[in-house]
């Protein structure tokens, strides 16, 4: 695998948008990986949280937006809580989801219409509301 780094890609406006939306500065991350080490759902991720940040640092926004990772994050805030540099990956993840959802692109992993009837009649309401807001815009 090879990567040609292009300065324009590094300075992609959309990546600045990720920083604005999440209120995080990507270059503050020194890639220690502590966020990934403590993430409860990392087993199901295709790209681990610290790698998502790395990809953004080197201008690979598309790759990140197409990852499964951003949809499996449970917003548990553990990554943010333990980051030695005060980077809140949870917020970066939310920003990335929003960027997809606001383009009216649906979440590839959850269709609102397909949330099962059992769930709706059984699960606590706040859980259903939270899922729809986080994962369906």
């Amino acid at each position: 695998m090879r990567l040609t780094i292009k300065t324009e890609e590094l300075r992609d406006e959309l990546i600045r948008r990720v920083e604005d939306l999440s209120r995080q500065s990507l270059l503050q991350c020194y890639q220690c990986g502590k966020c990934s080490a403590g993430c409860p759902v990392v087993d199901e991720m295709d790209v681990i949280p610290s790698e998502i940040i790395r990809l953004l640092q080197i201008g690979r926004l598309e790759e990140v937006l197409n990852s499964k990772t951003i949809w499996v994050c449970a917003s548990c805030l553990q990554c943010a809580s333990r980051c030695p540099k005060g980077v809140e990956f949870s917020n970066i993840c939310d920003a990335l989801r929003q960027m997809v959802l606001r383009k009216r692109l649906s979440n590839p992993r959850m269709d609102a219409d397909e949330v099962s009837a059992i769930m709706i009649s059984d699960a606590p309401q706040m859980g259903v509301v939270a899922a729809l807001r986080k994962l369906n815009g």
Binding site: S75, G127, R133
Partner: protein, 303 residues
């Protein structure tokens, strides 16, 4: 003592067992929880993106309602507590967002008849959002609670599960040490329980992912329940309907992937408090529990 109370949607309906036990217990320790005359859903999530003002409007509106009732607001559900507390902090720290929220509140007041009877003032973050546990510890006092107990829960091995939303982010929630918290342990100590320390008490139960991806969430909740079991717990207590759901109702799914899985009941902390305070009957209702806690409790002669 009367304290304004925000139940939130889930306690209003699907987690009535939590709501009812909490109100009864409060009475028993000398607090009347006064439900806000009007309130709406808090929205369940706190927006993590900077430009989303919309998602703080609902919590701020509820806080503005609360401001008319007093200077404190007690709530129980971890999600409600999280959202209300963080939204409150946004109002306090971010003048621009405060202004936006108040613009909305003004329009809202005009549009709705019920609220006209209130004299409207801008909301500037003046309400202190308290979790019920904080109310017990700081307003009532654990010592006072202890005096009111009818029985202690001696020998009951209880694992306190904090989950995510109460503790994180530390700087905003200011609830407890996010890694080695103690408010729950001290509470259980007050009731006389054997507190079970377990490593996963602050790890995620899977949260809202249960709606989108059950396997994913079960993986998390199995981890939590497994850790409580390994450390010898007989019962898990939570402060959150979603945690309760994930940890309790999904135990059949957990059992599928763990050999020799032993079921363990998951109850709200107010239900144990109720038992210790001698509250009985319909107020301490376990009919919604998937894993029935009654055998364990009966085994300790607590029913």
């Amino acid at each position: 003592m009367k304290i304004p109370y925000y139940p939130g949607c889930t306690l209003h309906e699907r987690a009535l067992d939590f709501d009812v036990s909490a109100r009864e217990c409060a009475k028993a320790v000398g607090v009347e929880l006064q439900e806000l005359p009007i309130w709406t859903c808090c929205g369940a999530v706190f927006p993590l993106v900077s430009d989303n003002v919309m998602e703080i409007l609902a919590p701020v509106r509820n806080l503005a309602y609360a401001a008319r009732e007093g200077d404190k607001l007690v709530t129980l559900c971890s999600f409600c507590y999280h959202v209300l507390k963080r939204a409150n902090k946004v109002v306090k720290d971010d003048p621009e967002k405060m202004e936006k929220a108040n613009l909305f509140l003004r329009a809202d007041t005009e549009a709705r008849e019920e609220v006209e009877s209130y004299t409207r003032k801008d909301y500037e973050g003046q309400v202190d959002v308290l979790h019920y546990l904080e109310m017990l510890r700081d307003v009532v006092g654990y010592d006072e609670v202890k005096k009111k107990l009818r029985r202690t829960l001696d020998g009951l091995r209880v694992a306190p599960y904090y989950g995510c939303m109460l503790l994180r982010p530390k700087k905003e929630m200011e609830f407890d040490d996010p890694e080695q918290p103690s408010i729950f342990e001290e509470f259980l100590d007050t009731l006389g329980c054997d507190v079970v320390d377990f490593a996963m008490k602050t790890e995620c139960c899977g949260g809202f992912q249960i709606v989108a991806d059950e396997d994913l969430a079960v993986q998390c909740s199995r981890n939590v329940v497994g850790s409580a079991l390994k450390n010898g717990a007989e019962i898990i207590v939570t402060t959150c309907p979603l945690c309760r759901y994930n940890l309790d109702k999904k135990q059949d799914e957990m059992a599928k992937s763990v050999r020799g899985f032993k079921k363990i009941p998951v109850v709200y902390f107010t239900q144990l408090l109720g038992i210790a305070l001698g509250i009985g009957g319909e107020h301490i209702d376990f009919s919604d529990n998937y894993v029935d806690p009654r055998p364990v409790l009966a085994g300790k002669s607590l029913l």
